[in-house]
């Protein structure tokens, strides 16, 4: 293979095009690098840090790192796995992620990546933050408890839906997702069930109303195959038309 436009990922030659990041080239070559805030349809964010790889001795986020010829990229060593596990555990204890009681269970990217990495428990001390649920929208519920601040809905709403319904506000551990509406509640926003922003959520933060546990256990997205084979939640999202409530928008 022409080494002028390939790099090595765990010993395999991966071809890349000009402008590719490590993540772009790896995904195209069918190689899985765990990630949460990345979605190939949008400009990379680099915030979850889960896609961290080791490049020539330095840890870098593969979703933002431009590919260069001859790079030696480690995506599978034990050191990398352990770092990713701790990052995942941080996300689990930061919010309130009660998988057994969550409707998204089985089709949640956070949970699926955790299985893939081999995370057996959240391990760290839970923050148990007091977060609210916004059920003001006729068709959608927003669970702040499950939001991991990946910024995908922010990007989708801005870049695809052209509505800018979401933004991340605050600072540090007090960062939170906010909505563009007169009273700050989702119900007053322009968000619609068919918006791209709704389908890109990798966790159970943005959930449909009027539908519940539609998919039986055993047939859910990640029930039979791991995320490395199945791919992202967003790649499979085909929002079914919800039951339209009386209070729905015109």
């Amino acid at each position: 293979m022409n080494t002028e436009n390939t790099f090595r990922l765990d010993g395999k030659d991966i071809p890349f095009k000009k402008g590719d990041t490590i993540m772009d080239a790896a995904l195209r070559a069918g190689e899985y690098i765990p990630h949460l805030c990345h979605n190939p349809e949008f400009k990379p964010h680099g915030s979850c840090r889960l896609c961290v790889v080791d490049v020539n001795g330095r840890h870098q986020a593969s979703c933002t790192l431009p590919a260069e010829a001859g790079m030696e990229v480690d995506n599978s060593s034990d050191a990398i796995r352990q770092r990713r596990e701790l990052l995942l555990q941080m996300l689990f204890v930061e919010g309130n992620h009660t998988c057994p009681a969550c409707e998204k269970s089985g089709a949640c990217q956070l949970q699926a990546v955790a299985y893939y990495i081999g995370m057996l428990s959240p391990h760290l001390t839970h923050f148990f933050p007091k977060r609210s649920i916004d059920a003001s929208h006729p068709d959608i519920v927003f669970y702040h408890n499950r939001c991991i601040l990946c910024g995908l809905c922010v990007r989708a709403s801005e870049q695809v839906d052209r509505k800018s319904v979401f933004a991340i506000s605050g600072r540090g551990i007090d960062s939170k997702l906010v909505f563009n509406s007169p009273d700050g509640k989702l119900g007053g926003s322009e968000l619609e069930f068919t918006d791209k922003a709704v389908e890109v959520c990798p966790v159970g933060a943005i959930m449909p109303k009027h539908l519940g546990y539609e998919t039986p256990v055993g047939q859910r997205l990640y029930d039979t195959k791991p995320i490395s084979v199945v791919g992202d939640v967003a790649a499979h999202s085909k929002p079914e038309k919800p039951f339209i409530s009386d209070k729905s928008h015109e």
């Binding site: 889960l50 840890h59 431009p66 930061e94 540090g172 551990i173 906010v178 563009n180």
Partner: protein
């Protein structure tokens, strides 16, 4: 108070109307009304065609912007560890008690709010506070007492005695940079005589490296900026001196502003910039008026503006932009985001600001000290500068010295000076540790005092905090852990969550509940932050913990529980609410009392 609509109209006509000036509008409104009222948010939203959500997101990011009024007297105590060592905690509690306020909560009559804030850069004359943006240094119980009297009597801060607001330079040791004066305009004259290329070579030969701490070659940076083709180039000065314990830029801005602006103008001539920006931290607002005056004098002397010193085509001017209380904005790409009126979230790099910075144009962004040094190198030449220092760190470095020593203040040393020498010069004795380069820096134990201040040994952005044997070093660690939790921008997982986890673990050590296992956890979390964080803040935040775990294990070991594991769960704390509901405060209502710290 003026009508909000008129006030906003006035700001717009004064500084212009553009979305990237949002932070400047918010700062002006906050300063006038002690908060950003809802009405102002709506008006800004309409005029800038930005949803209120985005304006609120900016307000909620910066510590000095608020959505509820702080009142006629807005008081913030500097809460760096050096302020704590000088007794700010007692004074803070005393002021709150005398005024009858809870921290951060406006008093019922809406008159006053008292808060703690990150280091205000007055460490050599602390404890310090800001009252409506003005610095009160050397706080004492007597000063607090009188202050309460003035507040209760409703005397405006403008009528308080001027002696309260004195900030001294405290320059204790001068070397090349502070000693050798240049005549106003001579650096620009030198540039005009040599041309950009020769001047650039002079800077490269001087070996000047960025004085903010990272140490990137300044000549190389300006060359990259100059060689990046674009319709516009910018020069930006980072005066967001937020690193705890650093105050040398405060002194340069106060007494060497001409040299700073001269250096920025030289940079502009080299890279081809027409516009320069000085990003001034909100804590240094009190110096803005004088800085604006210096800029005006330079315009009148044809050292800024159109046809500088009569040279056709050499047009350059400088604007001052205010920060609003965010340590992260000292990181260059976060600073640029902030200059553009946004939340200070560091950008992905590459591209670096030097090719794609302010408004996505090539930007020469440097520290205050770097520009001052560049101005002098332009006049005196490369040899003048690199005749002192070490082979890899040429010239001198300004150190801000505070903590346990007889003569805190500014010390200028040639690079290569040993820590031991500095301690002798500033009158420090019985020293337990020195924290070099601030909270993000390194903790140096006595056995390493032979080490040198230099990029290749102990690198420093300028902070030098001294702790004697009587100090509890864990208090420093906790102060810094809290600082980083407060200042994390929240963008990436390891810094946002890891910082808080570390903070909680240090608190667990402090109250005597931690075990060896917890120390290992701190090490593990710290390493992940170091390795995987998005920017320098997150990767350096665990430094004080990792350093002290390795070099001062005693401060942890003496407090450990002698078991392999104790839960983080605190039963007494968990029962807070039930005690409140039952009204019980008797001994039986507690599982175990924990000591306050």
């Amino acid at each position: 108070m003026p009508n909000i609509e008129e006030f906003i109209g006035d700001i717009f006509s004064e500084i212009g109307e553009a979305p990237d000036l949002l932070l400047q509008y918010l700062h002006a409104i906050q300063h006038e009304y002690s908060h950003v009222p809802e009405e102002a948010i709506q008006l800004l939203s309409e005029r800038l065609k930005t949803p209120p959500m985005k304006i609120n997101a900016v307000i909620d990011f910066y510590s000095f912007l608020h959505r509820t009024a702080r009142g006629e007297y807005d008081i913030r105590f500097s809460d760096n560890i050096t302020d704590r060592m000088l007794g700010n905690q007692l004074l803070f509690k005393s002021l709150c008690k005398k005024l009858g306020v809870e921290p951060d909560v406006p008093r019922a009559d809406g008159k006053v709010t008292v808060s703690l804030t990150s280091c205000t850069g007055i460490c050599d004359q602390g404890p310090a506070m800001l009252v409506n943006g003005l610095v009160v240094s050397k706080l004492t119980e007597k000063r607090i007492h009188k202050m309460v009297g003035r507040i209760e009597a409703g005397i405006p801060v403008a009528n308080w005695p001027k002696s309260l607001f004195v900030v001294k330079d405290n320059i204790r040791r001068k070397d090349k940079l502070l000693n050798d004066d240049i005549i106003k305009g001579s650096a620009i004259g030198a540039l005009a005589a040599t041309g950009g290329e020769v001047m650039l070579e002079r800077l490269e030969n001087s070996g000047l490296r960025g004085r903010g701490g990272a140490g990137f070659g300044s000549g190389l940076k300006w060359r990259l900026c100059r060689e990046t083709e674009a319709d516009k180039h910018y020069v930006v000065c980072n005066a967001d001196e937020g690193e705890p314990g650093t105050f040398k830029d405060r002194v340069l801005l106060n007494s060497y502003a001409d040299e700073l602006f001269e250096g920025m103008t030289v940079a502009a001539g080299i890279v081809g910039a027409k516009k320069g920006l000085l990003y001034l931290r909100r804590e240094y607002l009190y110096m803005r008026e004088a800085l604006e005056k210096t800029l005006q004098e330079r315009r009148e002397a044809k050292l800024l503006g159109k046809k500088i010193l009569g040279h056709k085509g050499f047009n350059f001017d400088i604007e001052i932009h205010m920060g609003a209380g965010a340590y992260i904005c000292g990181e260059e790409s976060a600073l640029i985001e902030s200059l553009e009126g946004k939340r200070g979230i560091p950008r992905d790099r590459p591209p670096f600001p030097v090719t794609c910075g302010y408004k996505n144009k090539p930007t020469a962004l440097n520290n205050v000290e770097t520009f001052v040094a560049a101005a002098k190198i332009a006049v005196f030449g490369a040899d003048w500068y690199h005749s002192v220092g070490t082979s890899q760190s040429s010239g001198t470095k300004l150190l801000s010295i505070s903590g346990d020593c007889e003569r805190p203040g500014i010390y200028e040393y040639p690079f290569g000076v040993t820590i031991r020498q500095i301690l002798v010069d500033c009158g420090a004795s019985d020293t337990q540790a020195v924290q070099v380069s601030g909270a993000a820096g390194s903790t140096i134990p006595p056995q390493e005092f032979y080490r040198k201040i230099a990029f290749e040994d102990v690198s420093s952005g300028g902070s030098f905090m001294i702790f004697n044997q009587q100090r509890d070093l864990l208090k420093m660690v906790l102060n810094f852990a809290r600082f980083f939790t407060h200042e994390s921008c929240g963008f990436c997982t390891p810094c946002r969550v890891g910082g808080r986890l570390l903070n909680d673990l240090v608190e667990k050590v402090m109250v005597g509940y931690a075990t060896r296992y917890d120390l290992k956890e701190m090490e593990r979390i710290g390493q992940v932050m170091k390795k995987t964080a998005h920017c320098g803040l997150g990767s350096t935040a665990p430094n004080p913990i990792l350093d002290t775990l390795a070099k001062f294990p005693g401060i942890y070991a003496t407090r450990l529980h002698n078991t392999s594991h104790t839960p983080a769960f605190d039963m007494t704390k968990a029962l807070d609410v039930s005690r409140l509901l039952t009204g019980r405060e008797d001994e039986g209502a507690y599982v175990e009392r924990t000591d306050e710290y």
